[in-house]
């Protein structure tokens, strides 16, 4: 869409070129379109580094908006950017921070800093540190048997190599979903009369009703919402749980939502959409601010339910050990709300798989009356079972 207010294209800084030498920290002092473009481009870079979706198109929109508002003062530039660069309430505090930093005189770094995460890439991890060290070459059968052993072992007590193998197998998990009838119709040989299609065909035949067309409701997969506890007590399981979440998202990208829960609720579905599990895990670790902290399940659940009804009609899986630091009665109340809203609530507790486990913690006791299914979540077999449960919930 051509716009007279847009600055001439030659005025924009060359991609990759460092415009920071010419940055004006306050556009109020200049009406120069080129300087404004350079400022806005630099600002967009700062925003992107902070995770705000300030792409090229949005940058152009901000320039347009600033031109319409006159870019006369700080407030005009603020709103021009906020209305065009942000895409959700999560972006707003980030935007505010970036705005204060950038227009307060702070300059952005040369690009997005890479998150510091070390990812060990295992190939088929059946080498010396596995339990069958010397049997690596001769026995494929032994490998299969080992996989069977691994399937039931607790992931918290595995060597890195074993864990890598389990993660590989989780990556292969396919959780089909129980279909749910949608409100949309599709043409079908059986079902109710489809007047639109019948009439259309009738018209084509010059008014002869030759055949009745029918339609029936389409089916779509039921949504699954997974809440993964990433607090300190869940540390041995969190990685595997997130791999499981990744498999679920990969399988049904449009019908899966994943949140991490600890001291802060974080939506990590976009991070998990990445095809490669390693890359997805890197994105997640960059997105989650509260690794290995405490747990405030009740409060987090409240925030989750207040934020909108993602849970409505969905199968909600809470993967947590139920170690609640907060008030268990709050957790109980929120679980009651959740159970009224969700299609089904499943609680996966890693300790449930251990012999002699009793759900005695306050949080777990408060939550249990509202849980439809209380399952284990400590081994590959448990995850397979959970995936199976989602397809026949």
């Amino acid at each position: 869409m051509p716009d007279p207010a847009r600055p001439p294209s030659g005025a924009r800084p060359a991609p990759g070129g460092g415009p920071f030498g010419t940055v004006v920290t306050s556009p109020a002092r200049t009406g120069d379109a080129a300087a404004l473009a350079a400022t806005v481009t630099g600002f967009a870079r700062t925003l992107r580094a902070a995770g705000v979706p300030a792409d090229h198109e949005r940058t152009q929109a901000m320039l347009d908006a600033a031109a319409h508002l006159g870019a006369a003062d700080r407030a005009a530039v603020y709103w021009a950017g906020r209305l065009t660069m942000c895409a959700g309430p999560d972006d707003l505090p980030r935007y505010d921070r970036c705005f204060a930093a950038y227009f307060g005189g702070e300059r952005p770094g040369p690009g997005r800093p890479a998150p510091v995460v070390t990812v060990v890439r295992h190939t088929m991890a059946l080498d010396g540190d596995g339990p069958s060290g010397d049997a690596s070459r001769e026995a494929l059968a032994a490998t299969a048997a080992w996989a069977e052993v691994l399937r039931h072992r607790d992931v918290a007590r595995m060597t890195p190599a074993e864990l890598a193998e389990v993660h590989r197998m989780i990556g292969l998990l396919r959780a089909r979903r129980e279909p749910r009838r949608s409100r949309r119709f599709a043409s079908s040989p059986r079902g109710r009369l489809d007047p639109r299609r019948t009439m259309r065909e009738t018209l084509r035949r010059g008014g002869e009703i030759a055949r009745l067309r029918r339609r029936s409701r389409r089916v779509r997969p039921r949504r699954v919402v997974l809440l993964v506890d990433v607090s300190g007590s869940m540390a041995p399981y969190a990685d595997t749980l997130l791999r499981f979440a990744h498999a679920l998202v990969r399988c049904e990208p449009r019908a899966t939502e994943v949140f991490s829960v600890g001291t802060r609720l974080t939506r990590i579905t976009p991070a998990l959409r990445h095809r490669d599990p390693g890359a997805a895990m890197r994105e997640v670790s960059a997105a989650v601010p509260d690794w290995r902290g405490g747990t405030r399940l009740g409060e987090e659940l409240k925030r989750f339910l207040d934020a909108g009804s993602t849970a409505r009609g969905a199968i909600v899986v809470i993967a947590s050990d139920g170690w609640e630091r907060g008030d268990p009665s709050l957790l109980g109340r929120q679980m009651a709300r959740l159970s009224r809203l969700a299609y089904r609530v499943v609680w996966a507790n890693p300790h449930k798989g251990h012999e002699g486990y009793q759900p005695l913690t306050g949080g777990m006791r408060a939550a249990l009356p509202y849980v439809g299914a209380f399952v284990a979540g400590h081994s590959l077999a448990a995850f397979e079972e959970l995936a199976e449960r989602l397809s026949h919930a």
Binding site: L83, C86, S182, R184, M199, T202, L203, G207, G308
Partner: protein
């Protein structure tokens, strides 16, 4: 009430637009006024998110009043498809036309071709909200609660909103002579696709600050005294901070104040307040929390 402004280009800036909205009893903050102003100037849809009852739908209505344009509303729901949002052919009338032609004895190939052309005439087309919005000039189009529609519909809406034209295979392309002012609202029950948001100006609507809420109550309810408005707004602020299941929005405070006024309250009388609490809070748990913690009593 001021004379409706016919052309968006006559509005000088966000402050002028805020004044116009004010004249129609809608008090907009700086951000919202800027958003509306830019939406008019840049011809972009305005994407409004925020909690229920903060005035998203009301804004579209007021914009329509300010511009002197009809408000065309498309309420989204699951299963909404093109036939319900765009246009549909009136099959029954087409069939009738065909039978009538048959009865008068139309024969020959030329006649048949003419008849076929007639069948897809504009008069057999039923315009649904989106087509109506493109054909009406000027118009304010409200796409309400987009998050309730399926994501298939979003992709389709994106197409309509990106070039403000609709192609009807039998009839040709309908292009808006003047693009409608579009307000899209969402309650965030699911994530709306980024491609659609990118087309829009995004604004997150907050509960109004205390002073503005008082002003809104006084504007909307002339019978309301300043003391009552202040007490109600203060109570609403406390309730929003109290961690309720459903904190009250401006729509609810207005309802509640209306109920209090109907019962003749001149002050936030605890007895009357408790009796009318149903206008403000729609969850039993919330009502109990509020009554047991004495949140209605003013400090």
């Amino acid at each position: 009430m001021t004379e409706p402004v016919r052309r968006a280009s006559e509005i000088g800036g966000p402050a002028a637009l805020a004044e116009l909205l004010d004249a129609h009893a809608y008090l907009a903050g700086e951000g919202l006024a800027t958003a509306c102003f830019l939406a008019l100037k840049m011809g972009r849809p305005l994407f409004l998110e925020g909690e229920a009852g903060v005035g998203k739908t009301e804004l579209a209505k007021t914009l329509a009043a300010v511009l002197g344009a009809p408000l065309i509303r498309l309420q989204c729901y699951e299963g909404l498809d093109a036939a319900q949002a765009l246009y549909d052919w009136d099959f029954a009338r087409q069939l009738l036309h065909l039978k009538a032609a048959e009865a008068t004895g139309a024969t020959g190939a030329a006649e048949a071709a003419r008849l076929e052309g007639e069948l897809y005439d504009r008069r057999f087309l039923i315009a649904r909200p989106l087509l109506r919005a493109l054909e009406t000039r000027p118009a304010v189009l409200l796409v309400d609660e987009i998050d309730r529609a399926d994501d298939e519909f979003e992709a389709f809406l994106l197409e309509v909103l990106s070039d403000f034209s609709i192609s009807i295979p039998e009839l040709g392309t309908v292009r808006a002579a003047e693009p409608p002012v579009v307000v899209v609202t969402s309650n965030r029950t699911r994530d709306v696709h980024d491609a659609l948001k990118r087309r829009c100006l995004y604004h997150w609507l907050e509960h109004p600050p205390f002073e503005r809420e008082v002003a809104i109550l006084l504007r909307r309810l002339p019978a309301c005294t300043e003391a009552l408005a202040a007490q109600v707004a203060a109570a609403a602020g406390r309730l929003r901070a109290a961690g309720l299941v459903k904190p009250p929005g401006v729509a609810e405070t207005l309802d509640w104040t209306g109920a209090l006024l109907t019962l003749g309250a001149r002050d936030l009388d605890p007895g009357l307040a408790a009796a009318t609490l149903g206008a403000l809070l729609k969850y039993r748990e919330d009502q109990q929390t509020v009554l047991t913690n004495g949140l209605l009593r003013h400090a």
